[in-house]
């Protein structure tokens, strides 16, 4: 334990100021700039009414389609331009498509040495039996990192849009809102879920862990696990899922997974760019503990995707976890 310092000393430290600045309570201009508190401008009711009526009147006069000839013309012109632009865009795109090389021809630019190298040396270099996984998680792992971040950002956007403010929640509870309605205790659904959820989640884990051996991988496995969690939530309600999955769990899970992914990939980029031999053994292709970092990356992607799917559902359903 560190030594406890008195409050007045603590308030002088940098960390205290930083903390206050982070939380937004620290006013950097306090005591430095001359300021005057703003007075609230008051309007009487009659003034507001008058303004509303004037606004309405103006709108009616502007959008009076029967008498306003200019507006009619502008509307027609607008429609013509919309059709014209659509046609131009369609023609341009069709022209571009007609210039594409024909499908499946041997001299197409896609048939270059890159795909040949992936097919010939893919297993040797990445250690993954499944070439697709070797490609997306080894040769092009940077793209997959971006994809995982896109998912995380999408969740953040959904959080911003759909999250219910806990302070306002109580007011809304009074209004008949389906946010607060727990799923009904349906016997059929619960029995089916009891038998179906464990196999679904185990299958998801299998798809993630076997991503480098057969079809599957982090994204599909994570989606399967997410679907299993959603089914469980639908059958048993939020009270049971909140025991093991809350907003905090999701944050910790995704940040840890994305951080691990970024660390692993930066290591392999560093060694690759500087021609240092990577110390991670590739193992025998076909074993579950093989193909270097691909297994770890698969697990990371799976965790992020499963959490994202579940969070989407929670946000849509309740606006909270």
């Amino acid at each position: 334990m560190s030594k406890k310092i008195p409050r007045s000393d603590y308030e002088k430290t940098v960390s205290f100021h930083f903390k206050r600045w982070l939380s937004g309570t620290d006013d950097t201009f306090a005591g430095k700039v001359e300021m005057k508190p703003q007075t609230v401008k008051r309007k009487n009711n009659a003034e507001i009414m008058e303004r509303e009526i004037a606004k309405k009147d103006l709108r009616e006069r502007v959008y009076d389609l029967a008498n306003n000839r200019e507006l009619k013309w502008v509307g027609k012109l607008y429609n013509c331009f919309a059709v014209f632009f659509c046609l131009v865009l369609a023609v341009m795109l069709l022209f571009a498509v007609s210039n594409l090389p024909s499908f499946g021809e041997a001299s197409n630019p896609v048939n270059n040495e890159v795909s040949a190298r992936y097919i010939e040396k893919g297993m040797e270099e990445t250690g993954a039996v499944n070439i697709v996984t070797g490609m997306i998680l080894d040769y092009r792992a940077f793209d997959t990192l971006g994809e995982s971040h896109v998912l995380f950002i999408a969740t953040c956007a959904v959080l911003l849009l759909l999250r219910v403010d806990p302070k306002k929640k109580k007011e809304e509870e009074e209004a008949a809102n389906d946010r607060v309605l727990e799923p009904k205790n349906d016997v059929i659904l619960q029995t089916v879920a009891r038998f179906l959820v464990p196999p679904v989640i185990i299958f998801g884990i299998y798809v993630i862990l076997g991503g480098h051996l057969g079809p599957g991988g982090g994204f599909s496995g994570g989606a399967i696990i997410g679907a299993g969690l959603i089914l469980y939530l639908n059958a048993f309600g939020f009270k049971k899922t909140e025991k093991f999955f809350t907003a905090k769990t999701y944050k910790i899970m995704s940040v840890a997974a994305l951080g691990t992914y970024a660390l692993c990939k930066s290591y392999s980029f560093y060694t690759g760019a500087n021609d240092i031999h990577s110390i991670i053994p590739l193992g025998t292709p076909g074993n579950i503990l093989s193909s270097g970092l691909i297994l770890i990356l698969n697990i990371c992607v799976g965790i992020v995707v499963a959490g994202t799917m579940y969070t989407f559902y929670c946000m849509f359903r309740k606006g909270d976890y």
């Binding site: 389906d178 798809v207 057969g214 079809p215 994204f219 599909s220 989606a223 399967i224 959603i230 799917m309």
Partner: protein, 96 residues
């Protein structure tokens, strides 16, 4: 045999795509869209890309459909039987 099967599946795919956009009820649209994803995942298997097939089945037919259902419930397009009376009243009174 396989060619015929693929042709039938592609035909179903077209039918689903057109029906989903022209169906009057949103709920039916979602169900048709779900079958579209399911057919698409079978086509992925025939095209020898099982990775995509698994993803399509899990995301397209599973999670997306559920999210659509929840959204429909949010905007009161689906109503359970005991709420139906209230919802009809609401529709009659657009001012509300």
């Amino acid at each position: 045999m396989n060619v015929v099967f693929t042709d039938v599946l592609l035909f179903f795919l077209l039918v689903c795509a057109i029906a989903a956009s022209f169906s009057k009820k949103l709920l039916n649209s979602i169900l048709i869209f779900m079958s579209f994803s399911l057919i698409m995942s079978i086509i992925w298997i025939i095209l020898e890309s099982p990775d995509l097939a698994i993803t399509e089945a899990a995301v397209g037919a599973g999670v997306t459909t559920v999210l659509f259902f929840v959204t429909l419930k949010k905007i009161r397009e689906i109503v359970s039987t005991d709420e139906e009376g209230d919802a009809k009243d609401e529709q009659k009174d657009p001012q509300k």
